[in-house]
Amino acid sequence: MNLPTESGSLELQPHSKLLVHQIHEVAELFGFETRNKYEILDESGRQVAWAAEQQKGFLGFLLRHFLGHWRSFTIQIFDAQRRPVILAKHPFRFFFQRLEIFDATGRPLGSIQQRFSILSKRFDVENERGMTLFEVASPIWRIWTFTFLHAGRPVATVAKKWTGALFELFTDKDKFLVDFSEGGLSESERKLILAAALFIDLQYFERKAN
């Protein structure tokens, strides 16, 4: 498929909730880690954007299968007209994974930075200057919900939705509800939280390296 090369536009301000839905491939049922693809739906189930990992081909398959989330990769988010709007780059890291977020013109929006933790899942959402905007510290017993805090106050939540035992066991078919609970979030903050939902899936729910 040929994708348009001009930059698109994605307005997340009108949406108070988004559903990130991983598109499932049959090969995953047989243990093959395929290219990650997601559709992003609004509250009424209408597609507002979609996201796809850019590492194609056999090399991409090998890296996904054997390096898991350690690999370096790029995820592009497209608007409903298939025009690129957000680019997320994941550099190779053994520890403290990072996802760097850029807009369609290549301007940095910020990054997601994993932090040291044991018995909890911790990461920060940083702005373009590296300042921590939101902190996420999800304890081990709350495995499905990630609350984004600013100055100790919740501003957004990413919650994994249960999709049924069969799919949870055998595929990475995940659904994430992104809830922008605070109305005052800026457009770039919403985009960072949306990218964080993808980071959560890749970091905590994708099958690990073989």
């Binding site: 044991i118 905007l133 902190e135 805090l149 800026s186």
Partner: protein
């Protein structure tokens, strides 16, 4: 000097100018707080954040992450700036230690303890896993893997190999408790190995490669050393510990740390098998001497493999033996040293000849 800062969630830069701290954002926001009215608080769940607040207007709050401006403010006499940096540093250290200490305890229990247990003297090992239990388990494991080991139970060479074992056991009564039994494998790989429960397997490749009967007996003596020292069971106990630690760390920290532990345990395993090899050499040497079999065969066989292992082709050829029995200079020196200590030793004829062993092995 300017530092990245936030006012609310508005991104900008912080500057310390004379008697004020100043925040400026790209969209023109400009806020100043007098240093004498400044109050500094620390916060942040994952990282250290410093909140610079006007004590008379606490809602006027600038956030920085870099401790450098706070240190400058401490030098400028801001009352709690110095303690804020110290407090933030302690908070991170405490969080680190709070989790590192329990993990260290888990590691000690699941990893080091079995490692220590596996290195206990034989008498302790007998209490931990009685030899009769090992024997039962060993036979079951052997039956399970027999087809893949190419073992032929009624092969004509088997009684000859058992005669060698019986000869060594007769002169070394401590081996009787393990009732060692040897099996012949038609594998061409140059190898012999001990399994749990006193079971030894000798490959056809080893008999074909041997230059003298003493070399075959030397290797069998070495394997009997593994049997007496119960190395297979020790390795199993040690592996269970590592597997336990891997499981616990996987649950606590995700797979990354657990994977590193796995790598570390591989290295430890290698070191451990070297220790086992040296110990099996020592035991084997003693059995040979007591049985009046020349230990030169043991040395010759290992030395030949060691010399040949310098060429890639030979490594491939003898990979099987070398991978399970790493031959190091150190091992050869130890055997040579013990040979040098041997005074007035008169070897006797071996119970079996190499020629008949080779003929029978080829059948």
């Amino acid at each position: 000097m300017k530092w990245p800062a936030l006012y609310g969630r508005q991104s900008g830069e912080l500057e310390i100018t004379g008697q004020t701290v100043r925040f400026q954002s790209e969209n023109g926001m400009d806020i100043e707080i007098q240093i004498r009215e400044l109050m500094i608080e620390t916060g942040g769940t994952n990282s250290n954040l410093y909140y610079l607040r006007d004590r008379y207007q606490p809602s006027l709050s600038i956030t920085v992450q870099d401790p450098a401006p706070i240190k400058i403010l401490a030098r400028k006499g801001v009352a709690n700036a110095g303690s804020a940096v110290g407090k933030a540093r302690w908070k991170l250290s405490f969080r680190f230690l709070r989790w590192v200490l329990p993990v260290a305890v888990v590691l000690a229990v699941f990893f080091l303890l079995p490692y220590v247990l596996s290195a206990l003297p034989s008498s302790w090992m007998d209490v931990l896993v009685p030899p009769q239990y090992e024997r039962v388990a060993g036979i079951k494991i052997f039956e399970l893997y027999k087809p893949s080991l190419h073992v032929s139970e009624n092969h004509p060479v088997q009684p000859k190999l058992q005669a060698i074992v019986d000869h060594l056991v007769e002169r070394n009564p401590q081996l009787k408790a393990h009732s060692p039994k040897i099996y012949f494998s038609s594998s061409e790989a140059v190898n012999a190995f001990a399994l749990a429960g006193g079971i030894i397997v000798c490959n056809r490749g080893l008999i074909q490669k041997a230059g003298s009967i003493n070399e075959v007996i030397g290797v069998i003596g070495h394997e009997l050393g593994h049997v007496e020292e119960r190395h297979v069971t020790r390795s199993l106990v040690s592996s269970l510990g590592i597997a336990g630690a891997y499981l616990v760390l996987s649950v606590f920290t995700g797979s990354d740390l657990a994977t590193l532990l796995g790598q570390a345990s591989n290295l430890l395993g290698l070191k451990y098998s070297r220790t086992q090899e040296a110990s099996a050499d020592d035991r084997g040497f003693e059995y040979l001497v007591r049985s009046k079999i020349s230990p030169l065969g043991m040395r010759d066989f290992f030395k030949r493999l060691h010399d040949e292992s310098r060429s890639t082709a030979a490594i491939e050829k003898h990979l099987s033996f070398l991978s399970s029995h790493p031959v190091h200079e150190e091992r050869l020196y130890r055997i040579a040293y013990r040979l040098g200590q041997l005074k007035g030793f008169e070897p006797e004829a071996a119970p079996v000849s190499l020629a008949e062993l080779k003929v029978l092995a080829d059948q």
